[in-house]
C-alpha cells in the first residue's frame, strides 16, 4: 500500500496535499475543518502588518465556466488577510499545537524593508509554525503598494528579501512566485541565490475574467468599475505546469524543492505536478468550488495510482517526467504517427471530420460509399492530434506510430529507424552537417 507521507524541507505531512495561502486558510475555523477532512497541510493566508488591509465590500470573484457551468477559471480581487495580525498569530499557534502532524506554513507579505520582515518573521517563529512562504505573487491591490508581484517581478528584490528572512529564522523559507513575468527561471534563480529553501508556484495570473455587456464594466464590478484580478483554477494548470517544468530542468535551479500550485482538482492533477518534480502540491480553487471533501478522492486516487505502478512513496515517481522535457529542436522528426478511429467507439458526430476539413489537413472522410463514415486518410494525415482532442469520446481516436521501415503514404518515404531532429535537418539554415 502506497505511503503518501511527505517530508518537504523537513516539514512533515501525512500527504502531499496542502491548501494554498488563500481564503480557505484565513482562520482557525476553516483550517481545522480542512485538517479534519484530511488535508496534509496548509499555507496560512498571507499575513501583513497592522493595521490590517481592507477588502472591497462588493464582489471579489469572477469566473469562467465550461459546459454545465463547471467552474473552469476563477478570478479574484481579494487582498491578504484583513484580520488583525495578533488574532492570526494566536490562531496559528493554537492550530499547530492541536494538529502537530500537519504542515503549517505561514505566508507573509510586508513592505520591502529589512526591519519589517525581521519583525514579522520573529513573531511567526513564536507560533511554532513549520515554515514561511514569502508572497511575491499577488498581482492585484498589494502590487500597487509595492508588494506581492511587484516584488516577484524584480529578481534582485526576491533575492534580497529571501536573504533577510533566511538570516532571521530557523524556519525553512519558500518563495512563492508570480507567473506575471516573461521568464520564470529568473525569479526562481534569485530565490535560490537568496538562500530560499524552495519555491512554490504559480500565484495567480493577471486577468480580467469578463466584461459586463450591459454596464460595460469588468467583472467583478464594484459600483460600476472593475480592476484586474488574479486568475486561477483548472484553466491555469497548463501554464503552471510549464513554469514548474522550466524550473525543474533549469541547471541553475536543478534540485531545488518545488511546491506546485495551479488548477489542481484531482489526484491526477497532483500526480502530474509531482512527476514534474514537486514535493508537495497546493490547492485552492478546487476546495473553493467543491469544499474540503475532495481531498478524500485525491488521497485514494493517488494511492491507487501508486499501487498500480509499484510506487511506495511519492519520492518513487517524483520528477520522473523531468528527464522527458525537451526543447522542440530535439524532438524526433523521424517519428511518424497517424490518427486511427475506432469504429466501434465512434458515435459519428463528425467533429473530427469538420475540424480536419475546415482547419487542418482534409485527412478525415465523412462519407464512404454513400454511408456516413469517418476514417483517416493516411495519405493526408500529418498526425497533428487535433481530431483526438475534439472527439467527444475518450479513446475513440488514438495516434498510432508508424513502424520504422514502413512507408508513410503521405510522403511516400520509408519511416527511418534512427532519430533525427531539426538541428541536423537540411531545411535548417543553421543545421549542423551530419557526419
Amino acid at each position: 500500500m502506497a505511503d503518501l507521507r511527505t517530508n518537504f524541507l523537513g516539514i512533515k505531512s501525512p500527504n502531499p496535499f496542502w491548501l494554498a495561502s488563500a481564503p480557505p486558510t484565513d482562520k482557525k475555523y476553516n483550517v481545522e475543518r480542512a485538517f479534519r477532512a484530511g488535508w496534509g497541510g496548509v499555507v496560512w493566508k498571507t499575513l501583513g502588518e497592522d493595521p490590517a488591509v481592507v477588502n472591497v465590500n462588493g464582489p471579489r470573484y469572477g469566473a469562467i465556466h465550461a459546459g454545465d457551468r463547471r467552474l473552469a477559471g476563477l478570478n479574484n480581487i481579494e487582498l491578504i488577510t484583513d484580520r488583525p495580525l495578533e488574532l492570526n498569530l494566536r490562531e496559528i499557534a493554537e492550530v499547530k499545537k492541536a494538529w502537530p502532524d500537519r504542515a503549517l506554513v505561514v505566508s507573509l507579505m510586508v513592505p520591502c524593508e529589512e526591519p519589517n520582515w525581521n519583525s514579522i518573521v520573529a513573531r511567526v517563529e513564536e507560533t511554532g509554525a513549520d515554515g514561511l512562504e514569502l508572497n511575491f505573487g499577488c498581482p492585484h491591490g498589494m502590487s500597487e503598494r509595492g508588494m506581492g508581484s511587484a516584488v516577484g517581478q524584480v529578481p534582485e528584490y526576491i533575492e534580497m528579501v529571501a536573504r533577510w528572512c533566511k538570516a532571521a529564522t530557523r524556519m525553512p523559507v519558500i518563495v512563492k512566485l508570480t507567473p506575471n513575468i516573461t521568464d520564470i527561471r529568473y525569479p526562481a534563480r534569485a530565490a535560490r541565490k537568496g538562500g530560499a529553501d524552495a519555491v512554490s508556484l504559480i500565484n495567480t495570473i493577471n486577468s480580467i475574467v469578463a466584461v459586463d455587456l450591459d454596464s460595460f464594466a469588468p467583472v467583478p464590478t464594484i459600483d460600476g468599475k472593475g480592476s484586474h484580478g488574479g486568475y486561477c483554477g483548472p484553466a491555469v494548470k497548463p501554464i503552471a505546469l510549464n513554469m514548474v517544468a522550466e524550473i525543474a530542468r533549469d541547471p541553475e535551479t536543478w534540485g531545488m524543492p518545488i511546491s506546485g500550485i495551479g488548477g489542481i482538482e484531482t489526484w491526477r492533477d497532483a500526480a502530474e505536478y509531482i512527476a514534474l518534480g514537486c514535493g508537495t502540491v497546493q490547492v485552492c480553487t478546487a476546495v473553493m468550488t467543491y469544499g474540503f471533501k475532495i481531498v478524500e478522492e485525491m488521497i485514494d486516487g493517488m494511492k491507487k495510482y501508486m499501487d498500480g505502478h509499484g510506487f511506495s512513496t511519492i519520492e518513487d515517481f517524483r520528477g520522473l517526467a523531468v528527464r522527458n522535457l525537451s526543447d522542440w529542436k530535439y524532438l524526433n522528426l523521424n517519428y511518424i504517427a497517424k490518427a486511427r478511429i475506432d469504429q466501434d467507439l465512434c458515435i459519428k458526430c463528425g467533429r473530427c471530420h469538420i475540424a480536419c476539413e475546415d482547419t487542418s489537413h482534409q485527412a478525415i472522410t465523412h462519407m464512404v460509399d454513400g454511408v456516413r463514415h469517418f476514417e483517416v486518410k493516411d495519405e493526408e494525415c500529418v498526425g497533428c492530434n487535433l481530431c483526438v482532442n475534439v472527439c467527444p469520446v475518450e479513446g475513440c481516436i488514438t495516434m498510432q506510430p508508424m513502424a520504422p521501415g514502413s512507408v508513410d503514404p503521405r510522403t511516400g518515404r520509408v519511416v527511418p529507424a534512427q532519430y533525427a531532429n531539426w538541428t541536423t535537418h537540411p531545411n535548417n539554415p543553421s543545421a549542423i552537417a551530419a557526419e
Binding site: R69, C346, I347, K348, G350, R351, H353, V393
Partner: protein, 444 residues
C-alpha cells in the same frame, strides 16, 4: 346497462389530468441540456427532420443565451415549430438520430429545447418574418391545417396575397381538432394560428368547404395558384357485425369533441373502454379515456408492438397511464346487450409461414361499455374529382417532388397526398415546399 357517463372525476382531477404531458424546460434546464449537444457535422438530427431544422445551430444559440435567435433558426425552416415541438414523435425522428444514443443511449432532448425556444419567442413576438414587397399575385390555400398554414406563411413572406379556405369554423386542422388535449394545452393551437397569420397578407375564410361552397375550377379561375391541404375526412370502418350499435364511437370524432370542450367533465366515457387500432389516434383516445376516469382501457391491435403506428414512446405513455395494450387480436363481432355495446369478440391472430396475418380460430372476448374505432382515416376524393380533376394514387392525391398535382396551377400537401406519413412536421414540409414551387412558378 352499459356504464357510460360524464363527470367521473373530481373537478380538480380534470385540470391535473389534462395538463401538459411534457412540462417545458426551465431556462436553467435548457442551458444544461444545450450543453449536451455535440454540434455535429452534417448533423444526423437535422437530416432526420422532415423540415430540416438546423438543430445544432438553434441549440448552440440557446446555450449562448440567444433564445430569440434560436427560435428564428427554427421558424426559418418550420413556422409551426412550436406545435412540432409538442407533437412530433421525436423519438423516431431527430432524437432517434442523435449521436448521443450511440454514446450513452440518451439523446439530447431536442423536442423540449425546441419548445423552450419557440415558447420564448411566441411570448415576445406576434409573428415571424418580414414580407417581401407585394407581388400582386393571389394564391388560394384550401385547408387551414399544418400544410395549409405553412404554405400560406411562406407565400405571404414572398409577397403574395393568400386566402385560406377552411371547411371548419376555425383554422388549425388536426393541431386544433385531432391531437390529444394534454399535448397542446392552453389553447396553443389557436395561439400558433394567430402567430402564423400575424405575418400579414393571409385571409382566412372559415366555414367554406371545397365542393360545397366553391369548386376547384372556380379557384383556378380566381387565383394565380391553388394549394390543396385537405387532410383526411373519413374514418375506416371495422367491417364487423354490430359496428352501428350505440356505444361504438369513432375515436377521431371523440378526440375532437374532447379537444373542443372547455369542460372535460362533460365528455362521456365508458367504465370499460376498448380502443381498436394501433396508431397515434388509438393512443390519444385510450390515454384520454383513462384520464377522464375510465376504469379499464384496452388498446386492441391486430399485430405486434413493432408494427404499431404509435411509436414505442407513445406505447409506453399509454402503459404508464394504465392502458393495457393487447396485441395479435382482430375484431370479429361487437356484442350488444339491449341496444348497447356489451363486449367485443376478437380472434387471436398470427403470421402464417408466408408472413401473412391470419386468424388462429381462438377467440377472446373483451367486456366493454364503449368501443372506439381508431383504425385509420381515408381521403375523400369527391371534391377534387368534380370538373377538372387531379390524379389520385393509392386513394390520395398524386404529387411530384415539388408538390405539384397533375393539374397545372394546383399543388397539394399534407395527409391528403400520396406518401404522406400523417405527421404534422411532414405536412409543414409539404406546405413549405409547395409554396417555394408556387413562388418559382409565379416568378417565372
Amino acid at each position: 346497462m352499459p356504464d357510460i357517463s360524464a363527470g367521473r372525476l373530481g373537478e380538480a382531477d380534470y385540470g391535473k389530468n389534462f395538463s401538459d404531458v411534457h412540462p417545458p424546460l426551465s431556462a436553467h434546464e435548457a442551458v444544461v441540456e444545450s450543453d449536451r449537444c455535440y454540434f455535429c457535422f452534417d448533423a444526423p438530427c437535422t437530416n432526420a427532420c422532415p423540415t430540416s431544422i438546423d438543430i445544432p445551430l438553434f441549440i448552440r444559440k440557446i446555450g449562448t443565451g440567444n433564445v430569440v435567435g434560436a427560435a428564428e433558426t427554427i421558424f426559418s425552416s418550420n413556422i409551426l415549430g412550436g406545435m412540432c415541438a409538442r407533437v412530433c414523435p421525436t423519438e423516431t425522428l431527430c432524437e432517434e438520430a442523435c449521436v448521443r444514443n450511440l454514446a450513452e443511449e440518451k439523446p439530447v432532448r431536442i423536442g423540449l429545447l425546441q419548445r423552450h425556444a419557440t415558447d420564448h419567442y411566441l411570448d415576445r413576438h406576434a409573428a415571424y418574418g418580414v414580407r417581401a414587397p407585394a407581388t400582386g399575385r393571389k394564391v388560394a390555400v384550401v385547408g387551414a391545417g399544418p400544410a395549409g398554414l405553412a404554405c400560406a406563411h411562406e407565400l405571404a413572406l414572398k409577397g403574395h396575397q393568400v386566402t385560406i379556405f377552411e371547411a371548419r369554423g376555425k383554422a388549425g386542422g388536426l393541431n386544433e381538432f385531432g391531437i390529444a388535449a394534454y399535448k397542446a394545452t392552453d389553447g396553443f393551437a389557436q395561439r400558433e394560428v394567430d402567430f402564423v397569420l400575424g405575418v400579414g397578407g393571409i385571409a382566412v375564410e372559415a366555414g367554406k368547404a371545397l365542393g360545397r361552397d366553391f369548386t376547384l375550377a372556380g379557384l383556378k379561375a380566381d387565383y394565380d395558384a391553388v394549394f390543396l391541404g385537405l387532410g383526411l375526412q373519413a374514418v375506416n370502418a371495422l367491417g364487423v357485425e354490430g359496428e352501428e350499435i350505440a356505444g361504438v364511437v369513432d375515436a377521431v370524432r371523440w378526440i375532437e369533441e374532447l379537444r373542443q370542450s372547455p369542460d372535460k367533465s362533460a365528455i362521456e366515457v365508458g367504465a370499460r373502454v376498448v380502443v381498436i387500432g394501433g396508431g397515434m389516434t388509438a393512443v390519444d383516445a385510450a390515454v384520454q379515456a383513462k384520464k377522464l376516469g375510465a376504469d379499464e382501457v384496452t388498446i386492441a391491435y391486430r399485430r405486434g408492438s413493432a408494427e404499431m403506428g404509435a411509436s414505442r414512446y407513445e406505447q409506453e405513455l399509454a402503459q404508464v397511464n394504465g392502458v393495457r395494450i393487447l396485441h395479435w387480436v382482430a375484431p370479429r363481432t361487437v356484442v350488444s346487450e339491449g341496444n348497447a355495446v356489451a363486449a367485443v369478440d376478437f380472434e387471436r391472430t398470427a403470421l402464417d409461414a408466408a408472413g401473412r396475418l391470419t386468424g388462429t380460430g381462438r377467440s377472446v372476448r373483451l367486456l366493454a361499455d364503449q368501443v372506439m374505432k381508431a383504425i385509420g382515416q381515408t381521403f375523400v376524393s369527391g371534391p377534387v374529382e368534380a370538373g377538372e380533376t387531379v390524379a389520385l394514387e393509392g386513394g390520395r392525391i398524386a404529387v411530384d417532388a415539388d408538390m405539384r398535382t397533375s393539374l397545372a396551377g394546383v399543388w397539394a400537401g399534407g395527409d391528403c397526398v400520396r406518401g404522406g406519413e400523417d405527421l404534422t412536421v411532414q405536412a409543414v414540409d409539404h406546405g413549405k415546399r409547395a409554396a417555394l414551387s408556387i413562388h418559382a412558378a409565379l416568378s417565372a
